[in-house]
Symmetry: C2
Amino acid sequence: MESIEHQVTLKSEVVHKATLAKLAAPSLSLLSTEQKNTALLLMADALVAETSSILIANAEDLGRGRANGINSSLLDRLALNEQRIIDMAEGLRQVVELQDPIGDVLETIDRPNGLHIVKQRVPIGVIGIIYEARPNVTVDAAGLCLKSGNAVVLRGGSSALYSNRRIVEVLHEALSRSDVAADAIQLIEDPDRSSVDQMLKLNGLLDVLIPRGGHSLIQNVVKNASVPVIETGAGICHTYVDESADFKMALQIAINAKVQRPSVCNSMETLLMHEKFAALHLAAIAEQFIANNVELRGNEKARALVRSINEASAEDWDTEYNDYILNIRIVSSLDEALQHIQQHSTKHSDCIVTENAEHAVRFLNEVDAAAVYHNASTRFTDGFEFGFGAEIGISTQKLHARGPMGLPALTSTKYRVSGNGQIRG
Amino acid sequence: MESIEHQVTLKSEVVHKATLAKLAAPSLSLLSTEQKNTALLLMADALVAETSSILIANAEDLGRGRANGINSSLLDRLALNEQRIIDMAEGLRQVVELQDPIGDVLETIDRPNGLHIVKQRVPIGVIGIIYEARPNVTVDAAGLCLKSGNAVVLRGGSSALYSNRRIVEVLHEALSRSDVAADAIQLIEDPDRSSVDQMLKLNGLLDVLIPRGGHSLIQNVVKNASVPVIETGAGICHTYVDESADFKMALQIAINAKVQRPSVCNSMETLLMHEKFAALHLAAIAEQFIANNVELRGNEKARALVRSINEASAEDWDTEYNDYILNIRIVSSLDEALQHIQQHSTKHSDCIVTENAEHAVRFLNEVDAAAVYHNASTRFTDGFEFGFGAEIGISTQKLHARGPMGLPALTSTKYRVSGNGQIRG
């Protein structure tokens, strides 16, 4: 009996708050850009003004985290300080500068019967965000959802609960001084995993779920949600160095793609190299990777050229290391490289380095990925680097949005049809 | 043990055919418009040339259906004849005329660092279609997927198995004389429902599922699929007749929205009417509905005006009748109408009939639906009526596509990034 009561209580919070968000959504869709921007600036100011209370709440999370023995990298992501709060506020001010996508006319159609049809951007409605320890995601997601006219139901990691709760209190207080309904931002406080499970099935209250975090979090959402999901994350990215590649360019791009920030999804996991280029340059390139503390794993052809390359296992080609480890496969043709990518790519970002224009075009045409590169590092797959001014995530699915997502990815459309009495014959 | 073997056998067909489709997909994405059109015309000719063998297969389905006692409307949807086969072929020829969306450039971005970014339409990949008895959907879906460069895995109703099998054999034979891989079109023949269940979980092989059919088929897919879904179908559509509406226009639009084809999703289920308009005109309008064999159910205010209106139950306002039944609610204001729609609309198509421009704008802004109408019948929500020249379905979700879906709804995008050695700092 106890467990049933427990379930009912849990259900109440998620359903209750999602319902509040849904009830707030219609009013959000009607806000002017100015009303939304005013609210965002109030939110930014409030965060800075409330720095000390937020840091106190964060200290509670950190203390609890240390007591529970969570690891140092998680503690680092969880930890706030004055500068990080200033950065969160600055992020909201940047969202103010973004163009408001709501109301944009995407298409107008005039039909022979006189119907005038306008396809216009509208908010999606209620967006569920499921994420992990970083409290800055709370602010970031709330800001982007608000600017795009959406209500948001946030479910952050339980380790950041006190921080998130205080942050959302501060945001609510700011909204109460604006034209925006405070119910637009909801935080699920229930730390039990079942609150996530409930969100996954909340069709009718949530319009979309965006998971942000590690592989297992995202896969849990993708596999179990009946609410539509925008999948983000996995990136096994390839760089193929063609026979005709410029040595210096190839070296710089490969090193940048691997070591500039190995932990992120757009970093390279596998370097493919034409055998003729490899015969001349693999040794020098391998040396640079090793100097950057990268462990190299390769196929037979690679190991025959450079002895310090370890043997790659079958699974290695399908592993997203997010670490200082790199697979190297020497291939005998562009076709072999394309085939490898087709088999092993997660369709995130793949690159060819070549001076051969025909090969470049073939690669850009034939590789099926959110972003395909010629002579540039895969690390550029990013909303800011693409000039969107924001990034909700990088979609690795093919529906709705693919690749870096700016504000338009948080919108839907509506057809407005005007007539003068038309009926269908 | 037997059941496990059974499962393995079942799994084999779905996984095997989806794998074949996935392997065919890359080559499809590279076909020219001409190559695709040539294949479509060969398919159209082959269907007509093979009319008799298709009708024989169809006769087997009909015989089996009659033996199993399936109802006459299902038999009608299942039945083919010479004209229906000509119509299917004609449908393919119309797809030839459609503009090919693949390769369309949606956006170009030039970054300060010299990166040149082009956002281009590409096929989605492999599309799964789950549908019911109509064999024409087999041809229709195969044609639209092919034109948009996608492979398709078809799972039609088991009652149409022989018809679908013969049709797909004919299409395969036509493709074998074209540049298009015959594996682009796959038919799941296993009549067991578990083959549908398997498709729902085929992440990595299927990129999207589009269910086409009745409520329970669609809800099964929406609730249980881990593959992304485009939800189609449900339509509880409203027409609100405002105080200032023109009587004749309101009558024509309301009658058209209900009785021109009651069985479809864009027909009206609920008529909302301002009390001042109703006092003058409800009697005449009700009379017309009754003359068209429509059963009327209403709220107290409606029944006080017209005695032949039955009492509407609470559930009636949330029921998609798809039949000659209409709910009528008399309201005292536009706000009451908007509130009713917000509570009961399935966000498909809703209409206001008014001569008040301000009310029209409020309605078009505030009603959250795929299509919102001013002074025109909701029956126009249709890919052909919108001028798309095709319709894969009418999306009732907010992600990816909303409202009538033409060929672009079967596409994704890819960012092509060209550089000259850019690395990220």
